[in-house]
């Protein structure tokens, strides 16, 4: 999509969102290496253009469902970085009070129905959200994010079918980063584009370059507008690449250093976008540099907040199991 057709504030928002995600993820990698962020951590570095390009069309009252690689989605959807950073640390002030962590960040205040530790687990939730939207006569949409690996789960196929026959306002976004942990996509899927699978469910399917935020923005616009108009679901496959291992600590025995370097050098979504913005004279180098500075400052503040926050206590352990506290549910001290 010609960059001139996109409002300047949207361009700035997309650039800023990508930068915030990048800075966040690089900082989280450090914090994980220092042992401050425990558990499994799956970073979004290299895939930032997808969250930015899709979320540019979403409102607060739209819903998303996310994956184990969800930090980018959460940030782009307008999540509270302080609360999510505290969550990554396992602190009481975290968005899930330290009970969810990186793989399970959720925040209904911004329409984030949850990252998910189960591959494919969140796809049907987006269908359900869209059903609710439709039955309540709203013009919101639901977007399900998932990986190429997840596109082989039963939930993917069942969800596309349901959304199609019920004509629901949902957009399925398959982030094809070419690996399912160690298995290359060409060894787990025998179609050229996962987008082709849309045909089997009678809905539009489109594959797009996920390193080009303008391209993502364009196909997302079409799909989300179509959903808002009540014309039903779309499957978008975004071709991308994760710059880091599957999770932090992954020895990456399944791919070469050269391959990773090639992508970082030639297909960095931030560099690609930057080039367009500068060449067209939309922003100056200084303006873009300020974006990085703001992001670094914001992330540092979040880290400080997380570090200074208290740990949850013993009493917190047994809270939140049910919404209505009922006598006798916690029998275990025999």
């Amino acid at each position: 999509m010609p960059v001139e057709e996109i409002p300047k504030e949207t361009l700035l928002w997309m650039y800023e969102t990508m930068v915030r995600i990048r800075v966040h993820e690089e900082r989280v990698a450090e914090l994980f290496a220092q042992g401050k962020v425990p558990g499994f951590v799956h970073l979004y570095t290299g895939e930032e253009a997808i969250a930015a390009g899709i979320m540019a069309h979403l409102r607060k009252d739209d819903f998303i469902t996310s994956t184990h690689r969800g930090h980018g989605h959460y940030i782009a959807k307008g999540g509270d970085i302080k609360a999510s950073m505290a969550e990554l640390f396992g602190k009481k002030t975290g968005s899930c009070k330290g009970k969810g962590g990186s793989m399970h960040i959720a925040d209904l205040d911004v329409g984030e129905l949850g990252a998910n530790g189960i591959v494919g687990g969140g796809i049907p939730h987006a269908v359900g959200a869209a059903l609710g939207i439709k039955l309540n006569g709203l013009d919101s949409v639901a977007v399900a994010f998932f990986g190429d690996g997840a596109a082989n789960q039963g939930t993917f196929h069942e969800s596309l079918n349901l959304a199609s026959i019920w004509k629901l306002p949902v957009v399925f976004v398959c982030e094809n980063n070419q690996y399912q942990i160690s298995l290359p996509a060409k060894e787990h899927t025998n179609v050229k584009d996962i987008a082709e699978r849309a045909k089997a469910y009678g809905i539009p399917g489109v594959a797009v370059d996920g390193q080009d935020v303008l391209a993502v923005y364009e196909v997302a616009k079409e799909a989300i507008e179509r959903a808002r108009r009540g014309e039903g679901p779309t499957l978008i496959e975004v071709k991308t690449y994760r710059f880091r291992g599957h999770f932090e600590g992954d020895p990456q025995v399944y791919r070469s250093k050269e391959e990773i370097e090639w992508w970082k050098e030639n297909k960095d979504p931030i560099k690609i976008f930057e080039k367009v913005l500068l060449e067209k004279g939309i922003f100056t180098k200084e303006e873009l540099e300020q974006v990085w500075e703001r992001a670094r400052k914001e992330i540092e503040e979040a880290v400080k907040f997380a570090e200074e926050s208290p740990w949850p206590t013993k009493e917190d352990l047994t809270e939140d199991v049910f919404s209505t506290p009922t006598k006798g549910v916690l029998v275990w001290q025999w």
């Binding site: 425990p38 558990g39 499994f40 969550e87 396992g90 602190k91 009481k92 975290g94 899930c96 330290g98 009970k99 969810g100 962590g101 793989m103 399970h104 998910n116 530790g117 189960i118 591959v119 494919g120 687990g121 690996g149 997840a150 082989n152 789960q153 039963g154 399912q180 942990i181 160690s182 298995l183 060894e187 787990h188 899927t189 025995v253 399944y254 740990w311 949850p312 206590t313 013993k314 917190d316 352990l317 047994t318 199991v321 549910v329 916690l330 029998v331 275990w332 025999w334």
Partner: protein, 327 residues
Amino acid sequence: MAMVREITFAQAINEALDYEMSKDEKVIIMGEDVGRYGGIFGATAGLYEKYGPERVRDTPISEAGFIGAAIGAAATGLLRPVVELMFIDFLGVTFDQIFNQAAKMRYMFGGKAKIPMVLRTTCGAGFAAAAQHSQSLHALFVHVPGLKVVMPSTPYDAKGLLISSIEDDDPVIFIEHKGLYGIKGPVPEEPYTIPLGEADVKKEGKDVTIVATAAMVHKALEAAKKLEEEGISVEVVDPRTLVPLDVDTIVNSIKKTGRLVVVDEGYPRCSFATDIAAIAASKAFEYLKAPVKLVTPPATPIPFSPALEKEWIPSAEKIEKAVKEIL
């Protein structure tokens, strides 16, 4: 006599798989990242290089599909698949195949089918992996007739029990606690089997019996050591296989000590711990000098924060306390 070398629990699993693959062409491995990657916990390392991609198959993320395929392959008698379910938590995706298909086939077919397959999976908390990657769901399998359930606690048991499981003609759920992969212990180089259904007395004692499973065996031994210093003699019994269950060894130990503490990482209600307590009540009631004590986590999902998770997992201190309460 030569000292037996020490290897890790993960290496012991690996040796059992390697031995069975070398011995029987029908044994194949399937699962996510079991090939080039060698399994995300390293249990299948080197097997892909040795036996090739046909017999060590990386699968798409479609657990119902590939576990179902293993069941079908086993039912034909053409293969003896060993399938890896990366985390026991993902069981939910595959419920029907395991509970209604694998567990029921032989019975419903009037005994005409054999299902020689092993489903290897991992359990256990302690890694800040939160509620969807930390559970110990063995009780669910124990509940359903038609499945054998194995849960080793040492490298020695792991090797012998896995060889037995692969050679068994029934569907076996083989559960490996993530916290055990790194522990070392003496394991003979040559293959050997440990029969399913034989408990092991990990430590003899006379004042109280602790029945514990998987990683909890080590916590129980730690507690026993402390209690021993205070003059309390603890017997630690590890059932090793939950189905079939060696009821005799457990009951005989209770008869000897007159006291029972059960330690299990599964959720507290309708659990393996309550099952053992019920067995004690129905088979050894007259020998019991005190109420049976259970040490389990609370009935909550497993929290992410290490501060909370530490509270959640049964500790050696909690076991010591339970023992003292019934003395």
